[in-house]
């Protein structure tokens, strides 16, 4: 049962990452990120229950609360303020991006089969999903132009790292996790302010315009 | 065979009396084709037949024929299509071709049939190549029937050039094989152990090119959409249904079973080319508004589907899965028959339309279902069959192709197998696109308002043209409902081919199709058909309450007519836009306005797709060849002394070489 739930939510996270690549509306992307974080929370809770590791409950609560609610809410506010709703034409069109992400996922999955199987026998699925999401997140950062999408991509990478950590070691020490969580929150706040600044300056949040800053 | 030649001769003799000439020529063709069917059936039921046509005493060469079961299958296809096509021609050519040309067409028609039959039946290289060339030439003559038109001449020329490049490749391949085996008979040449190593790969490429040209696979297809529409419709039907199959036959005979156990890469290459041809063929077909060009591109698409099955079979055979290989090959052979049936039907129906309206352009037609109800019905049957919809025959063979691809995935090892479901997805997309394409063709040409006088005044074709269409339509339905019977026949072909084994527990019923272990999948089209009938009955009962009232279509207050109805171009526009990376559509909109640009008096709209292969592959190729020829002009200076000097140098060189060998 717990295995099924693990696999289900991990794969669900991969689906959200894919959907993020597949569309351009910023609100939907943020919502997808929220859903992804909730699924990560489910993964953490499942492991906490199955392995009897109470600290993971805290992690799960943090994940769901911070990344599932607070950050999406904040990002939506940012998007609402600056009034830009969709990603402009990215560097690559959607089918091409999907094709690349497909290849990335296959790569991620292939690599994951090399990891030692945990006690549960599903670790490599979790790690495979994590690695694939990591690659997809990096790919998103490379190809998207809007600052908000870049933040979302970064957050996806962060979720992926978290998932991999859960897959390999059943979670990091609590202190580390707390630290990371607040780091992320802080980063998002800073980035949110930065986005405002960029929009103020350029009347656009197209980060490819940042190259105009050089002397 | 003799009947064909007699009929050809009779056609020429009776050249002065077109009517008699038609009856003699095509009557002869019908008789000959019926005999071919009989021969094929007897071979499939009994065993191979072979014999000798003649011998050349001085060189000791013999020319023979040998009807193997594989050849018999292709002969059966030939005969089944040729009978209705010949019958149709009697009526069609009376209107389509002026009397003076009838003799020529009739003769070429018979020669073509004889040549194709001989291609299938040839037992040695010389006979094969001779028949192959006669086939090419007689087709060229038929394509050029309306040689007053410039584009027709161009089409025939292009066909000849492409065919000769192909024949060149074949000749080279056969020469290598013949010199390596020291014999000219197919039995020795195609024994499979003649050459090895990279020679085998090189030969595969040569033969694939040579036969691929005839089969019309992308990127060797360029002649096909030019030549098919240029020929008279009954000839197009024959070309699409039979001539293309000569190329396919070659691929079977030589590439798949003549060079030993195929290499995995060959199979994958054939699959890749097949998938490419299928998807691009249908995309190009969608862009056409000339009904015969549309059908020609659809022929490319179907050649692609045939190659998908063949490629899957070859890959499986290379990996030692003999039962799986049999399924792929069976799917391919089945589609050969089905494509011949429904494409023959579609071309004949299109011919009736062209004859009745004088145009091939579907945007000038419309509403023909009222004037030509039978033709419309037959075209609809053909359209359903080509779209692979149950319970017609196209569904049966596409179903089997899917089985080959999926079972291939299930039982092959490694990364290779990922190409199988990918090909399956492409095949699914192809058949959905074909459906879109034929909804467009049928809807635009036969439904709603007529778009011009030609379409308004259209009237039904004579019975002599309708009966053959009905015959082919009945065959489409019959084969679709009883695929098991056809598969049994294909089974006898299978056991004669090396490297195949019939799946052990495949049910041998008349109604059912099931490849391999029956648990995997099976289908009973007849049951599907009966269920549909039951559903129709239910619908009829539910909706039978009241009689209908007839009113004009509501046009939002405006008047609807030919100018407001949806055109075929508009129909396929969304797909054109979606696949714009491939098709590269261009468009020009020109608005002629008097007062304000928002109220144009007349809008001209022109749209075209870029011929990618013609421009980017054949363009540089042609200019390269021409450039090389220009440079070679230096050698060919036109001076007699220079030529004599060449001869002298060559002679001396030869003598020295021969002397050195001693």
């Amino acid at each position: 049962m717990s295995n099924n739930l693990l696999v289900l939510s991990a794969a669900g996270m991969l689906v959200t990452a894919f959907l993020m690549v597949g569309q351009k509306a910023l609100f939907t992307a943020i919502r997808l990120y929220g859903a992804q974080s909730w699924l990560l929370g489910v993964v953490a809770v499942t492991i906490a229950l199955a392995d009897d590791r109470p600290p993971l409950f805290v992690t799960a609560a943090l994940t769901a609360g911070l990344k599932g609610l607070l950050i999406p809410w904040f990002l939506m506010r940012v998007v609402d303020r600056i009034g830009i709703r969709r990603e402009i034409e990215p560097f690559l069109n959607v089918p091409a991006s999907l094709l690349i992400c497909l290849a990335l996922t296959v790569v991620g999955y292939r690599v994951s089969t090399g990891f030692p199987e945990g006690a549960r026998g599903v670790a490599h699925h979790v790690i495979g999903v994590g690695l694939s999401m990591l690659l997809i997140g990096l790919f998103l950062m490379v190809t998207r132009k809007k600052a908000v999408t870049q933040i979302l991509a970064l957050l996806t990478v962060e979720n992926a790292v978290f998932l991999i950590a859960l897959g390999i070691t059943s979670g990091m020490p609590l202190v580390v996790e707390l630290g990371i969580s607040f780091d992320v929150l802080l980063a998002v706040l800073v980035l949110g302010i930065l986005v405002h600044r960029i929009v103020d300056r350029f009347e656009s949040m197209d980060v490819s315009r940042l190259s105009q800053l050089k002397g | 065979m003799a009947v064909y030649l007699t009929a050809a001769a009779a056609s020429l003799v009776l050249a002065r009396r077109p009517r008699l000439c038609r009856v003699a020529a095509f009557g002869g063709a019908i008789l000959g084709s019926a005999l071919v069917v009989a021969l094929a059936v007897s071979v499939l039921a009994g065993g191979p037949v072979s014999g000798r046509l003649g011998a050349h005493a001085a060189s000791g060469m013999t020319f023979g024929y040998a009807v193997t079961p594989l050849a018999a299958w292709f002969l059966l296809v030939l005969g089944l299509v040729a009978v209705p096509v010949a019958l149709y021609s009697i009526g069609y050519l009376a209107h389509a071709v002026p009397g003076a040309k009838t003799a020529m067409v009739g003769a070429s028609f018979n020669v073509l049939l004889a040549a194709v039959a001989l291609v299938f039946a040839a037992a040695d290289v010389v006979t094969f190549l001779f028949a192959w060339e006669v086939m090419t030439l007689s087709t060229a003559a038929l394509v050029a029937t309306e040689h007053e038109i410039r584009s027709t001449r161009r089409a025939a020329y292009m066909y000849l050039v492409m065919s000769h490049v192909g024949t060149g490749a074949l000749l080279a391949g056969f020469l290598v094989l013949a010199s390596a085996s020291g014999s000219l008979s197919f039995e020795a040449v195609l024994a499979g152990n003649v050459v090895s190593g990279w020679w085998r790969d090189a030969l595969f490429v040569l033969f694939f090119l040579g036969f691929g040209v005839k089969a019309g696979v992308i990127p060797l297809h360029v002649w096909l959409p030019e030549a098919h529409p240029a020929a008279p419709s009954s000839i197009s039907a024959l070309m699409s249904a039979v001539l293309i199959k000569a190329g396919i036959y070659g691929l079977f005979r030589v590439c798949a079973f003549g060079l030993g156990v195929p290499d995995v890469n060959w199979g994958l290459a054939v699959m890749a080319v097949g998938a490419l041809s299928a998807i691009l063929g249908v995309l190009y077909a969608l862009a056409q508004s000339d009904v015969k060009r549309l059908l020609a591109y659809s022929t490319i698409e179907n050649a692609g589907i045939i190659l998908l099955g063949l490629g899957a079979g070859m890959t499986a055979s290379a990996l030692g899965h003999r039962e799986l290989a049999a399924i792929g090959i069976a799917a391919s052979l089945f589609h050969v028959l089905n494509h011949a049936l429904f494409k023959g039907l579609l071309f004949l129906s299109a011919g009736s339309v062209v004859m009745a309206t004088g145009t091939r352009h579907i945007e000038e037609l419309g509403g023909l279902i009222r004037g030509m109800p039978w033709t419309a019905l037959f075209f609809l049957v053909g359209a359903l069959a080509v779209s692979g919809l149950p319970p017609l025959n196209g569904f049966a063979s596409e179903w089997l192709t899917f089985q080959a691809l999926l079972m291939g995935f299930a039982s092959l090892p490694g990364v290779t197998r990922m190409s199988f479901p990918l090909a399956g997805a492409l095949l699914a997309m192809t058949s959905a696109l074909v459906a879109a394409c034929f909804v467009k063709a049928f809807g635009t040409a036969f439904l709603a308002f007529p778009r011009g006088r030609a379409a308004t005044d259209a009237h039904e074709s004579p019975a002599v043209m309708l009966v053959p269409q009905g015959l082919l339509a009945a065959l489409c339905i019959g084969v679709g409902l009883f695929p098991g019977a056809v598969l049994r026949t294909i089974g006898t072909v299978m056991v004669s081919l090396p490297g195949l084994r019939l799946p052990r527990d495949a049910p041998q019923a008349t109604f059912t199709m099931a490849p391999g272990p029956a648990g995997f999948d099976h289908v009973v089209p007849l049951a599907l058909g009966l269920t549909l009938m039951a559903g129709l009955l239910g619908a009829a009962l539910l909706a039978a309450a009241r009689a209908a009232r007839r009113v004009p279509t509501w046009g939002c207050g405006g008047e609807l007519g030919a100018a407001t109805e949806y055109t075929g171009t508009a129909f396929s526009k969304p797909l054109m836009m979606i696949f714009k990376t491939v098709l590269r559509p261009t468009r020009e909109v020109e608005a002629l306005a008097d007062v304000s640009p928002y109220f144009p008096r007349e809008v001209r709209y022109r749209t075209a797709i870029e011929p990618v292969f013609e421009r980017y592959l054949y363009g540089p190729l042609t200019s390269g060849v021409l450039g090389a020829a220009n440079r070679l002009k230096v050698v060919q200076a036109g001076s007699l002394h220079a030529y004599l000097a060449y001869v002298l140098v060559l002679g001396v060189g030869l003598l020295i070489w021969l002397g050195g060998k001693r």
């Binding site: 099924n4 696999v7 991969l14 597949g22 569309q23 939907t28 919502r31 959607v94 094709l99 996922t105 296959v106 999955y109 699925h125 | 279902i369 359903l384 779209s387 919809l389 569904f395 999926l406 995935f409 197998r417 990922m418 399956g424 997805a425 492409l426 699914a428 997309m429 959905a432 696109l433 459906a435 909804v439 467009k440 809807g443 439904l447 648990g519 995997f520 099976h522 009973v524 089209p525 599907l528 269920t531 549909l532 559903g535 129709l536 619908a539 539910l542 909706a543 309450a545 009241r546 009689a547 209908a548 007839r550 009113v551 279509t553 609807l560 407001t564 109805e565 129909f571 969304p574 797909l575």
Partner: protein
């Protein structure tokens, strides 16, 4: 005719009748839930039944440019939807007519209905019909490969392309999930959204001609003709949701024809369908309709998910 065949036919008739009877309820349910999310009252749950009953009693009005195909279209569409129900396991772990064909036959039958309806739409000469038919065929061409890939993934992991055998294979395997199941489910869900004409691909409630796809195609139909089309669409929708439930949560299907098991299976099936209906409603309510030329991107996502499901399952 053997006794087994007769029993199969009997079951097929029962199942088809059951699906026909329940399909309008699903439509009504989704409408009601959508209304609730928009804090509206919404039409009564049974409104779809009232509509069908009314249309069936009305006089059909047909265009005088239309031919026999126009009349044949809805009938064929209805017949294909009904025939399709007999190929899918709904309450039992066996399809009544599974001996007649599997997944490919199902897809083929549905495509046949679409072909006829699209052709019939061109018959009146109204530009709306043409536009709808064109878009419907376009989207179908994009959805079909994704549908096939999703189905293949399930079929290959169960070792059969026959829906009955497939479901039994899944039941034997027991309740262990593989990530590819989720990917395939997500891919197929997108296809189902597209094939049933729901937001964000199409909007079943719109009557603004330029945004319509399916509705534009059947715009000219009235009376019993319209009833057949709408009813068949409802059956198709229920069928697709049932298919999703079968492939990814086959638990609860009656493994034998005993009445108790079937009585147990029906509520389980109903709750699965209800969950899926909630998902459809949520997607409809939270998304805006996509531009027609954004739909290919969505279908590409679906195709990608399907292919990925195959890849990570079997690589």
């Amino acid at each position: 005719m053997t006794e087994g065949a007769l029993a199969a036919i009997g079951l097929a008739v029962l199942q088809a009748a059951g699906m026909l009877a329940l399909a309008p309820l699903l439509r009504g349910l989704i409408k009601k839930m959508k209304a609730a999310l928009q804090t509206r009252q919404g039409p009564p749950l049974l409104q779809v039944y009232y509509d069908l009953a009314k249309w069936l009693r009305k006089e059909p009005v047909r265009s005088d440019t239309a031919s026999w195909l126009y009349v044949a279209g809805p009938r064929m569409y209805f017949a294909t939807s009904v025939a399709a129900t007999t190929l899918v396991p709904v309450w039992m772990a066996a399809a009544p007519l599974e001996a007649a064909g599997g997944v490919l036959a199902l897809v083929g039958i549905l495509a046949l209905g679409r072909f006829f309806l699209a052709t019939a739409a061109l018959d009146t000469g109204s530009p709306f019909g043409g536009m709808g038919a064109s878009r419907e065929m376009t989207i179908a061409a994009l959805a079909e490969p994704a549908l096939m890939l999703g189905l293949f993934t399930a079929a290959l992991s169960a070792g059969s392309l026959n829906l009955g055998a497939l479901v039994r294979g899944l039941l034997d395997r027991g309740a262990t999930f593989h990530p590819s199941d989720i990917l395939a489910l997500a891919g197929l869900f997108i296809v189902v959204i597209a094939e049933t004409g729901r937001v964000p691909v199409d909007n079943p409630a719109t009557h603004l001609e330029l945004t319509m796809i399916h509705e534009a195609m059947v715009l000219e139909y009235s009376g019993p003709d319209l009833a057949l089309v709408e009813w068949a669409s409802a059956v198709k929708e229920l069928l697709y949701l049932t298919l999703l439930a079968d492939l990814f949560a086959p638990i609860g299907l009656a493994t034998s024809a005993s009445p108790e098991l079937i009585l147990l299976a029906v509520p389980i099936w109903a709750s699965k369908i209800f969950l899926l209906a909630v998902a459809v409603t949520l997607v409809e309510s939270t998304n805006a309709k996509l531009r027609l030329f954004r739909v290919p991107d969505l279908m590409a996502v679906s195709l990608g998910l399907g292919f990925l499901a195959l890849a990570i399952r079997f690589l």
